[in-house]
Each structure stands twice: as structure tokens, then as C-alpha cells.
């Protein structure tokens, strides 16, 4: 029994870990700004694309580091240019701005690549084939969940035990009051974007090492699924997003394994609808207390 299902579970855990790294960006930005950052999936795609270009001139480790820096710079620039001027505007405007940025990034990538799929560079040790029980898979499948859990642990520690973490929690609780208390809101938001985009860049290295084609639309589907994961776990909650991402990744692959390949994506989105109807705050979502 396990013999048959092992390859699907492994694939699910791997892709779940990759979704989790993207989902953290969604959930943190939502927690602090109450904004669904639609451009996040495209930052992820661009990190992959930049890697393709960097690896041609630079050694592997340098490129990986530069890719992470690039994603951080791109994310914070988007925040400065497209979201910050709209901070006091109605929430709908800032969301539309996010959609605009997403399309801009996609079309710019279309212009640069000419619309053709680029092949992600080989990262030797990540793509090495290994055997686990009955399943043959790539090394990255094993590394992803471990790395994801380590990073999430560090992040939770950062949020719980550092000054900036405390500031983040305060801002997510009450935006205006915390600014009155002397918290530098802009700094907190920038740090949020730095963390979110940095993790998305790491996620892109893992994801594209496994699924090696990048085109301008590559960020759309993982981004959307990570978003569903964030909602499933309770948007605003980091552990929630991670659990949600693993659930979605594993279920998706088990459904494919059961032979219902046609419905694997449908499942993800049905899950979103069900969650929104039954438990709108998600698994670990904060309780919404109405204040009079």
C-alpha cells in the first residue's frame, strides 16, 4: 500500500514546501497591510527567470544569493512605488494596483523572453536522483520540506522573540495605534516584504529545480495555490500558511495518484470555496472581534 502511494506523498510534501515558502509572503503582507499582494507569484517567477540569466556568467552560490537579493529589491520597490502612495486610499484601489503590478511583471517577462519557456539551470546536488523505498525522486524533494521547516522555525522565532517581530505583531493587531506608539510603520512593512520575497526566491530555486521550465505565466499557478494555502491556514498566520500549503500539495498529488488527474486543480479551488463558506478565518485564523 505505502509502496504505491509513497511517490505521490513525497511529491506532495516537496511541492507543499515550495507552496509554503510562497504562501508566507502572502500571509505576512496580508497580516500587516490587509492587502492581498497579487504580484507575489510574479516576483517568484522573476526570481526564477533572473537565475537563468545570472547562472550564465556567475558561479552557482553567487547567483543564488544575488537572486534572493534581486527578489527582495523587486518586492520592496513594488511596495514603495505601487502600494505606499496608496496607503490611505480605499483597500480596493491598492488591490487593483497589485493586480496591475502583476500584469506588468508578466508582460515585461514576456517581452524579455519572447514568450518562450526558458530551461532552469542544473543545480547538481538538488537534481541528483535518489531512491527512497519504492520511489525514485530528485534530491530536492527531500531537501525542500526540511529547509522549509527550518526557515519557518527561524521566522516564528524572529516574530516571537525580537524587537522587529514584536513591532510586526503590534502592527498586525492595530495599524494606527501602533504607529501612535512610536513604531516605524514603513520599516515594519519593508521588513515584511524583505522576508516574504526572500522566501519566495528560495522557493523559486527549489520549485524550478524540480519543474525546470520557466515562462512568464509560471508564477501564476503556484502563486494562486499558495494564496489558497494561506487562506486555508487562516490568512495572517504563518504556521497556518505552512500547514495549508502542505495539505494542498499532498492532497493534489494523492488525487492525481487516485486517477482523477483532470480534477487535481479543481480540488484546490473547491477547497478554497468550502473553507470560505465553513470557516472563513481558516484553520489558524485570528478571531474577528467586532468592536463597537
Amino acid at each position: 500500500m505505502l509502496q504505491t502511494w509513497l511517490p505521490y506523498i513525497l511529491a506532495g510534501i516537496a511541492v507543499g514546501g515550495q507552496y509554503a515558502l510562497i504562501a508566507i509572503g502572502y500571509t505576512m503582507v496580508y497580516g500587516i497591510l490587509r492587502l492581498i499582494n497579487f504580484a507575489h507569484g510574479d516576483v517568484f517567477m522573476w526570481s526564477g527567470l533572473i537565475m537563468v540569466y545570472l547562472i550564465t556568467v556567475l558561479p552557482l552560490w553567487v547567483s543564488v544569493i544575488l537572486v534572493i537579493i534581486f527578489a527582495i529589491v523587486l518586492g520592496t520597490t513594488i511596495e514603495k512605488v505601487a502600494y505606499r502612495p496608496l496607503r490611505s486610499a480605499p483597500r480596493m484601489s491598492i488591490m487593483i494596483s497589485a493586480i496591475g503590478v502583476s500584469y506588468l511583471l508578466q508582460n515585461f517577462a514576456l517581452y524579455i523572453t519572447g514568450g518562450l519557456t526558458k530551461t532552469y539551470p542544473e543545480i547538481g546536488f538538488l537534481q541528483k536522483t535518489i531512491k527512497i523505498g519504492s520511489a525514485t525522486t530528485k534530491m530536492v524533494t527531500v531537501i525542500t520540506p526540511v529547509l522549509t521547516i527550518v526557515l519557518v522555525f527561524l521566522l516564528v522565532m524572529l516574530i516571537k522573540h525580537t524587537k522587529i517581530g514584536m513591532a510586526m505583531r503590534a502592527v498586525s493587531r492595530d495599524f494606527e495605534t501602533s504607529s501612535l506608539m512610536g513604531i516605524d510603520i514603513n520599516r515594519v512593512i519593508t521588513v515584511t516584504f524583505v522576508i516574504g520575497c526572500g522566501l519566495a526566491a528560495i522557493g523559486s530555486v527549489l520549485y524550478f529545480s524540480n519543474y525546470t521550465g520557466i515562462n512568464p505565466m509560471s508564477g501564476a499557478m503556484p502563486g494562486l495555490k499558495a494564496f489558497v494555502a494561506a487562506v486555508f491556514g487562516g490568512i495572517g498566520s504563518v504556521p497556518g500558511a505552512v500547514v495549508g500549503a502542505f495539505v494542498i500539495g499532498i492532497c493534489e498529488n494523492l488525487i492525481k495518484g487516485a486517477g482523477w488527474t483532470t480534477f487535481s486543480d479543481a480540488f484546490t479551488f473547491v477547497l478554497l470555496i468550502v473553507i470560505l463558506m465553513v470557516k472563513p478565518t481558516g484553520l489558524f485564523g485570528e478571531k474577528n472581534i467586532d468592536k463597537v
Binding site: P7, A11, L116, T137, M221
Partner: protein, 393 residues
């Protein structure tokens, strides 16, 4: 300050818009003796790589033979190239664009879905269209205006099924893309023929924008199949090959004409996979053409980039080259540049001396082709090797 900026920006935009109009006007009025051939191909999206290679063949043909003598008058042939973005909804707009540019005939497209989507536009405009490598029967079935120079999927599916059966495969795993006319159609015909021979099949589909093929490869292994049939786009193909290697698929992969591309050979190079495809043309079939187009790609760096960065020939390029000459012959036979006259001349047209074999059309407008080339990927050299020609019987 802000107002000035806004004003300046809108001025710039207005000027750009005007400049755009000016440019369009010029090219329309230039030269009285020009005839336009519409090239309806994808340059982006799922089929962008293949579409570019097919366009390349047409462009090379146009370079070799830039004029045509119709009656006693010599015309310059100009290509009007549009990008249908491999997308059925955008294909309609692209087709309308060609019609409004007053082209005389349309060539394309790579990928059957976009051709089927655009067929209505060509039908309404009375515009003759020649499909180059769209193999789905529906392209020409309901459209009087659509002709094609390649073989069809019922034929190709049968050929592939025969090939699989002859090489000892009893259970086939068939993968197609949800909503994609080409792969769904070809899989259906394959399944029909393979079951007819006594084989067993497992059919699965993957959704649009999917890049995770892990489970599909695992399914094929778990269900004990002995051939993996996946006539999908080259984008998905590269990912499938990658997963097949990662999970040690252990069975041959079989595909249709789309996979005859250097995208595949590059993805498979150095990997432990066994890939066989059916196609229209084998490199070396016409050495003169091969050398000519390769020399051109060496010279022209854009052409080389569009071919995927090297000079390996794809069958679709050869087919594009042929399509251009079929179009010229049709115009000569019609003795006119009017789409209606060309349309009338097409059914009786017979063209020989082409790279991929002679072309004549049957009553639905399909080319009479009875053989396909079978090629196998040599993963050491990263090149296609000819196996045999296979017919449907």
C-alpha cells in the same frame, strides 16, 4: 509640479499614438505590386517555440523566392506575420488582424486549437487558409476555406499505435492536456487504434499551466504500462522528460509531430530516456534545403535565436517552407491575387518538387499523405535518428 508631469506624460502618449498611425499608413501605401501572405502562427505561449520554427521556414522560403509572376505581372511577396499567442481566444483577434490587412492567403497555424478557433473568421472573410502542421481533422472538416498540407491525426494516431504494438507494447499510458484540441484529439485516435489491435490503455489529462508531472509519471509506472504516449506541447514535454529521468520511468516515450523539435532533443540530451516520434520530414531528406537554411541561420542571428539557439532543423520548418510554395503555386494557378480566385483554384492544385513530398488535396481540403517518418532521439548526441517510414496499414 504633478500637473506638469501628468501633462508631459499624456503628451508623450499622444505623440506615440500618432507616430503609430503614421507608421501603419506608410507600409500600407508602399509599392503597388505587392502581394501579402498572412502568417498566422504562435510566437509566444505554449506553442511559441514551434510556431517560431514554422514561421522560420516561411521566412526562408520568402527570402529564397521573394517574387511571384501571376499572369504576366511580377509581384513582390510580403509576409504579414501575426502572433496568435497559442491561445484560442487571442487567435480570433490575430486572424481578424490578417483579414483587415488584406492579405491574399493565410498560412498556419502550428497547433490545431488556434486554427479551429480562427476558421470562422477566415470563412466569413472568404479567405483561403493553408494549415501547415495542424493535424486535427476538425480544422478542415467544417471550413471550406481551410486546406492543409500535412497528414491528419486519425492517420498519425493509427501510425503511432501500430508502431507501439509492433514494438511489443501491450499497455499504453496516454497523457493529454485538458481542453487542448491537438493532444486530446491525437490521444483519442491513438486509443481507438491501439484498442483495435488488442492493447490496453490508461488515459489521463493534465490541466492548463500545470508544471508538476511527478504524479503522472508515477501513475504510468504504478499501472504497469509499457509505453508512455504524450503528444503534448513542447513546453510540457521538456518537463515530462525531466521527470521521466528523475523517477526512472523505464519505458519508451512516444509522441506526435510536435515533439520533433530541438527543444526535445536538448531536454533529453544526456538523460536516460527513450523518445520516439512520428513526423513530416527527416533531416537529410533534401540536402540542398538543409544546407541552405542552415547557412541562413548561421548568418542571421535572429533566425538562429528563433530556432532555439542552434541550427538543428525541425520538420515544421520544412513544412513552413513547403507551405509558402504551395501558396505561390495557388496564386499562379488562380492567375489573380484575389482571395476568392485563389480559393477557387486550391482544390485542383497539385504541387510537386517540395521538400516534404508532393501535395494535392482531397475533397475536405486535406493533403493526400500516406506515410509518416518515425524518428528516435539519440540522447548521447542530442539529435534525431531516422528509424523508418510507417504507414497506417
Amino acid at each position: 509640479m504633478k500637473k506638469i508631469l501628468v501633462l508631459a506624460l499624456s503628451l508623450v502618449l499622444a505623440m506615440l499614438a500618432l507616430a503609430g498611425c503614421g507608421g501603419g499608413g506608410d507600409s500600407g501605401s508602399g509599392g503597388g505590386d505587392t502581394i501579402k501572405i498572412g502568417v498566422f502562427e504562435p510566437a509566444s505561449g505554449d506553442n511559441g517555440a514551434g510556431g517560431k520554427q514554422e514561421t522560420l521556414g516561411i521566412q526562408y522560403a520568402n527570402k529564397m523566392c521573394p517574387t511571384v509572376t501571376i499572369g504576366d505581372k511580377e509581384y513582390n511577396v510580403e509576409l504579414a506575420i501575426v502572433d496568435n499567442e497559442s491561445d484560442n481566444s487571442k487567435a480570433v483577434t490575430a486572424a481578424q488582424n490578417l483579414v483587415s490587412q488584406n492579405v491574399s492567403i493565410v498560412l498556419g497555424s502550428y497547433g490545431s486549437g488556434v486554427s479551429i478557433a480562427a476558421a470562422d473568421v477566415f470563412a466569413d472573410a472568404g479567405m483561403p487558409a493553408i494549415g501547415v502542421t495542424c493535424t486535427n481533422p476538425q480544422v478542415t472538416a467544417d471550413c471550406e476555406q481551410y486546406f492543409r498540407i500535412c497528414f491528419l491525426d486519425p492517420f498519425q494516431g493509427t501510425v503511432l499505435a501500430n508502431y507501439a504494438w509492433d514494438s511489443g507494447c501491450k499497455k499504453a499510458y496516454c497523457l493529454s492536456k485538458l481542453g487542448d484540441d491537438y493532444s486530446v484529439g491525437l490521444v483519442n485516435y491513438f486509443v481507438e487504434a491501439f484498442k483495435g489491435l488488442g492493447g490496453e490503455v490508461v488515459e489521463e489529462q493534465f490541466p492548463d499551466k500545470n508544471s508538476d508531472f511527478t504524479s503522472y509519471v508515477a501513475n504510468a509506472k504504478n499501472k504497469g504500462c509499457d509505453v508512455f504516449f504524450a503528444p503534448v506541447s513542447t513546453e510540457a514535454a521538456a518537463l515530462i522528460i525531466d521527470q521521466a529521468e528523475a523517477q526512472d520511468l523505464g519505458m519508451p516515450i512516444l509522441a506526435g509531430d510536435t515533439w520533433d523539435s530541438n527543444v526535445i532533443t536538448e531536454a533529453a540530451k544526456g538523460k536516460n530516456v527513450d523518445i520516439t516520434v512520428t513526423t513530416f520530414y527527416q533531416e537529410g531528406g533534401n540536402p540542398e534545403f538543409d544546407e541552405g537554411i542552415k547557412a541562413w541561420m548561421e548568418e542571421d542571428s535572429t533566425a538562429m535565436t528563433n530556432n532555439g539557439g542552434n541550427t538543428d532543423l525541425a520538420a515544421v520548418t520544412a513544412m513552413g517552407y513547403d507551405a509558402y510554395f504551395v501558396a505561390l503555386e495557388a496564386m499562379k494557378a488562380a492567375g489573380s491575387t484575389d482571395p476568392a480566385d485563389i480559393l477557387a483554384a486550391l482544390p485542383a492544385l497539385q504541387v510537386s518538387g517540395l521538400v516534404c513530398g508532393d501535395v494535392s488535396f482531397n475533397e475536405t481540403g486535406d493533403a493526400n499523405k500516406t506515410e509518416a517518418f518515425v524518428k528516435r532521439c539519440n540522447t548521447e548526441t542530442g539529435a534525431w535518428e531516422f528509424v523508418k517510414t510507417q504507414s497506417a496499414e
